[in-house]
Symmetry: C2
Subunit: 202 residues, 2 copies
């Protein structure tokens, strides 16, 4: 469409190709879908959701990286998810009238598209089955969490680290080590020992 021109992929183009992977979407349908998303730039350290707030959005990450975390009764922080490019985030446990227990914070300057969850009905009226991407994001989230539960019950610290690399290949260099350790449920010292052992192997 733009021969010879290196047109930078816009946020919406990234969303379009993501949705197309689920099920083909016509240009006309996508023009409508675009009206339901609000583009937003967030700078490193900025929050798009805080504990106690109502979740209104499901969030498509077009560039950058965010993390979702929660704080337990003892005041300890637990990372539930990292969300680099092409991931969805938001408090997936969204329920009307129940405030979120999560924080979602930008780990890098990021570009996101906010989809208001109350638009699901409008979307389904316009495109029957149009909300399939949201169900699919929820299902992916359930699958990832199942895998993480099994891994936390059975895998060694080293196996969990290897799973992490497979799941988030780009994040090892981008995310602070103490956050990766927190996600894996190990101490930063253990993580550092595993990384040293592996670098000797390669």
């Amino acid at each position: 469409m733009y021969p010879g021109l290196a047109k930078p992929a816009t946020m919406f183009e990234k969303l379009h190709s993501f949705l197309n992977r689920n099920s083909p979407i016509t240009d006309e349908q996508f023009e409508y879908i675009k009206t339901l998303f609000v583009p937003k730039k967030v700078t490193k350290g900025e929050f798009i959701l805080r504990e106690g707030e109502m979740t209104k959005y499901s969030v498509f990450v077009a560039s950058g990286c965010l993390r979702t975390y929660t704080i337990d009764d003892k005041g300890k922080e637990h990372i539930l998810q990292f969300s680099p490019e092409n991931w969805w985030t938001g408090d997936m446990s969204f329920k009307s009238n129940v405030p979120s227990q999560c924080f979602i914070e930008a780990l890098e300057d990021s570009e996101v598209l906010l989809f208001e969850l109350h638009s699901i009905q409008k979307l389904n009226e316009y495109i029957p089955g149009g909300s399939a991407f949201y169900e699919s994001a929820l299902q992916k989230s359930v699958a990832a969490k199942n895998q993480r539960i099994v891994s936390s019950l059975s895998a060694t610290a080293e196996e969990r680290y290897n799973d992490f690399i497979k799941k988030y290949p780009s994040l090892i260099q981008r995310v602070p080590q103490h956050m990766i350790a927190s996600y894996l449920g190990i101490t930063p010292e253990t993580l550092s020992r595993i990384r040293k052992q592996q670098s000797h192997k390669h």
Copy 2:
């Protein structure tokens, strides 16, 4: 409606009151919804899904209890979920054309209602937003898994046991102890020790 008569609650009546808790459903709408569910009795030990099969259904448990488990690379079994009355089950990580990694087995003689996932579109055409119960079940599943991840990262065995009692008050007497231990990621001996300590306290 049936003054003086103790009419036993049927499977569909249980479903109706479950759905009504989400959002009110007229009798006429419910007559349509009923056509999308297939009632099934499963006997103790029977499977409604095995690893490698395609997930076709979301499952409402009207009576009895099922468990969802997976087997890891080392051949070890891990229980992902128990599903007593009024819970939904099914491989919530359902994706078209990807075989399930889960087994779903009846722990007791049970009555279930099978909802074919491909009916979601039909349902939404008939009742706009009708599939909200499915999204709500997925969201509940994500919330429960988040809580379990946090608990596996931070809580002591005793705290995890107490969370289990809160989440599944009826199951302590109904489910074999070694399965509860497996769910909690502790040995049956540790579970037995915790239960003994607690019975001394009360």
